[in-house]
Symmetry: C2
Subunit: 335 residues, 2 copies
């Protein structure tokens, strides 16, 4: 009889995660009660936010408790249902956690449509990362035709969508990535107008060359020195959408700190942090737009799908913080 495989948080990690931070074990497959259904998850989404959820302390959601299932988005099919709105075979996305089988009462669950895009895209460009890009760029960043938009981690899950939407809106899209392969992907696959590789050095000069009109919108995924370099070249009345600060998530000591805060004052910038959850009531509108652009061939998605199942969870998660993935990072749960 098949067993469930579950990743539970064993202790609070410090810096990058290690295998010892988790208890990855077989458990009985759970049975749904009335009003619940069971999902057989096929792809687990690996997101930078997951690292923050493991830390103690105040954040936008409570930390994962020790012994609890690692929180995470997954996509799969309904397997058994005692819920009136979900039937076996339905493709669904939700916070099912890092486990092979999950129970759900339907709360926060959305539908995937494998006819429109492969299953894994529904935790990527047509999932939370796509929605994050959409609201972050258009609502928080207020990107408008003619703007120069810089996005860090430009080949990542969110960045790739930001760049493409910026192009659709008539903006100049400039990516920041670490490494020449990511740069190639940003330029060739996602159509960025320009892309700078911070690992090649001279980031400020590179930004200056690729943003001759200055920067109107910074979609900030990284923080630290990259954020600082972009801040210094922002235009008057520019907007900064603070979506993520991944450079600090797995840091074991305090980073140098942001130097160019003076640019916020002198250029009258609007710097705004956001979480995609703040836009829940508008997910439908955004998803319609994203799927329409995708169907029209204007929006392409790239996933970096890793195999090995949940046993590989810690190693694969760390790729996000070491720059090891190119595209939306996903763990395939099927053996």
């Amino acid at each position: 009889m098949e067993k469930n495989v579950v990743v539970r948080l064993a202790r609070r990690p410090r810096g990058l995660v290690t295998r010892e931070d988790f208890d990855i074990r077989e458990e009985p497959v759970p049975e749904p009660r009335e009003g619940e259904f069971r999902v057989r998850a096929e792809y687990l989404s690996l997101d930078p936010a997951m690292r923050g959820w493991m830390n103690e302390g105040r954040s936008y959601v409570p930390p994962i408790g020790i012994g609890e299932v690692m929180r995470g988005y997954a996509v799969g099919h309904v397997d058994v249902s005692k819920h009136k709105d979900f039937k076996p075979g339905d493709a669904v996305v939700g916070l099912f956690g890092a486990q092979r089988y999950a129970l759900s009462n339907g709360s926060g669950v959305t539908r995937a449509d494998p006819g429109l895009a492969p299953l894994e895209t529904w935790v990527g460009g047509l999932g939370m990362p796509g929605l994050t890009a959409y609201f972050g760029l258009l609502e928080v960043g207020q990107a408008r035709e003619g703007d120069t938009v810089v996005v860090s981690a430009a080949s990542g899950a969110v960045g790739q969508v930001v760049g493409q939407i910026a192009r659709i809106m008539g903006c100049r899209a400039v990516g920041v990535v670490g490494g020449q392969e990511k740069r190639r992907v940003a330029l060739e696959e996602f159509g960025f107008d320009a892309c700078v590789d911070y690992k090649a050095g001279g980031l400020s000069d590179q930004l200056n060359e690729t943003c001759p009109q200055g920067i109107d919108v910074d979609f900030e995924n990284v923080g630290g020195e990259i954020f600082d370099a972009v801040l210094a070249q922002m235009n008057r009345f520019g907007r900064v959408a603070v979506c993520g600060l991944i450079s600090g998530y797995a840091a074991t000591e305090a980073p140098p700190g942001l130097q160019n805060t003076r640019s916020i004052l002198v250029n009258r910038l609007r710097v705004r942090g956001f979480i995609v959850f703040d836009f829940t009531s508008r997910y439908g509108e955004a998803l319609n737009q994203l799927t329409e652009w995708h169907a029209a061939g204007k929006l392409r998605f790239r996933e970096d799908v890793r195999s090995g199942g949940l046993a590989q969870f810690p190693e694969v998660l760390n790729l996000l913080f070491t720059g090891g993935n190119t595209g939306k990072l996903v763990l395939k749960l099927d053996r």
Copy 2:
């Protein structure tokens, strides 16, 4: 025959200004041409922004050129006029510069009403600092009844007005100052609900005690470690009005940098830099409100008037950066 006294920038200062950075000299009193009037300035406003104007490089206004009259606001009376809208005896405020006599074509000049408040108040609470407080708190900071508002440099030109408007709006006003005398002034003269003294140490603990409901609005005048400590205690969806970063203006080496940028993300803060000039079209509305509150006894102003005339300009200006003034710093130009 009387001479003019003029402060000209002799070289670009480094850190605090010195006497050698300026050429303070007698010059002939200038004669107005058609469409101009001459002002005999009585009080020169000393503002933190003046230090920034002396630096080379991109800012919100061009730097003062070497050899040019030091830029600055002053208040005085029209002396001779060839301008149809201004007549001798009119009390006027404008960017007349650090000089005893100035010519003006009326551009950017506003009226002072010595019947409503002493002349020096028109470069303070009823001048740019008051307008800065008004727009910064209500428009940029979006302060609303019940909010906890923290303002740094709370006994200064802008801070004192911010605290009092916050109280008028039904907010909890918490000041941050350096020194016990400034703290006393903030509490007793301006009616802050609480005031912390960063020089007494334990700033974060002091903020925690005085802001038991967290911080909704930060009116930031100082930057550096004070900004960092406040950022860490901001409430979800809080606003930061970045008005000044005085801690860095006369710094000769890079300060440590802002550490708590994560709070911007997690708490979805809106951090916005502003300059009072951005609200020029609404000065009239604001000034009406400020004078009304002042006449009703709800708004008190404290100037720190220094004597000695323009010969003392460098030493008096430095007081702003060494914490030497309590209240709006003004230099009396009459001998």
